[in-house]
Symmetry: C2
Amino acid sequence: MINLQPIGHVTGGRAEAFDDNWGAERAVIRLAGFGPEALAGLEDFSHLEVVFYFHQVRPEKIERGARRPRNNPEWPLTGVFAQRGKNRPNQLGVSRCQLIAVDGTDIHVAGLDAIDGTPVLDIKPYLAEFAPQGGPVVQPDWATELMREYY
Amino acid sequence: MINLQPIGHVTGGRAEAFDDNWGAERAVIRLAGFGPEALAGLEDFSHLEVVFYFHQVRPEKIERGARRPRNNPEWPLTGVFAQRGKNRPNQLGVSRCQLIAVDGTDIHVAGLDAIDGTPVLDIKPYLAEFAPQGGPVVQPDWATELMREYY
C-alpha cells in the first residue's frame, strides 16, 4: 500500500461532476501545509499538470474490467485502463490546465476538469518536451467523439 | 490519508535512475490483479499516460520548499511544484510513452522514464484533446535547457 497526503484542494469551479464543457471553468488550487516558496517560479509556465483524487467515487462503482465508455451502447466494450473515466482503480485523475496566476499558496487555473473540494496530490509544470514522442497521436473514433464537447 | 494499491509494475528498462536519454528505452508494464479485459481496446491508442511512484526516494530527500533544478547553480531557486524532479511530496511521476503492443496483461512501451521495479498506480490512454488548451506552451529557459537530452 502507498499512503499519500493531499498537498491541497480545488476550491471553486463546479460543485458537481458532469461530463462536458470544462474549458471555461475557473478554479483555485489552494495548497495546505506548504509555503509560497514551494511555488517559486511557477508563473514562468503557461500550463500545469495536476494529479488529483476522484474523491466522490463510491467503491462499488469502481470498474476493474471492461465497460462501454459513458455506458454508450454504440461504443465498444473497453478496458478500464483504455479509458479515462473516474470509476477506476486508485481513482486518480491527471489533467492539464492553464495557469492564470499564483497568489501566495493559491494557484488560479482555467480548464481544470476537477470539482470543488477535490484533493490534489501533485502539481507539475507542463513542459513542451513532455508531449507525446515518436509519432502522431492515434486514437479510436469513439474517443474523438466522446471528447467533442469536453473542453 | 489516501491509500493506493499499485496496479502493476515496470519490468525491464533501466535498473537505476539517471537523468537523460529516456526516449530509446523499452520496458513492460505488467499488471497485477487484473485480467486482460482491463486492457481491452488499449491497442487502438498510440500513446499512454502512466502514473507511477518514485519508490526509491528516501524520505529525508523530499523537498517541500524550493531548490535549484538538478542542483545546477546556474538555474534559479525553483519551488518543488514548479519542477518535475522525483524528490517531491507524494513521489508521483506522470509521463507519456508510446504503446508498442499489448500481450495479455503485459503492456510493451517505449520512452517511459521509469526504472525497473517501479510501482504503477494508473494507466490512461492519451487523447489528442487532452493536450494543453487555450494558448501555446510557455516555459522558462532553464526548463528547455534541462530537457535538451532528456528524451
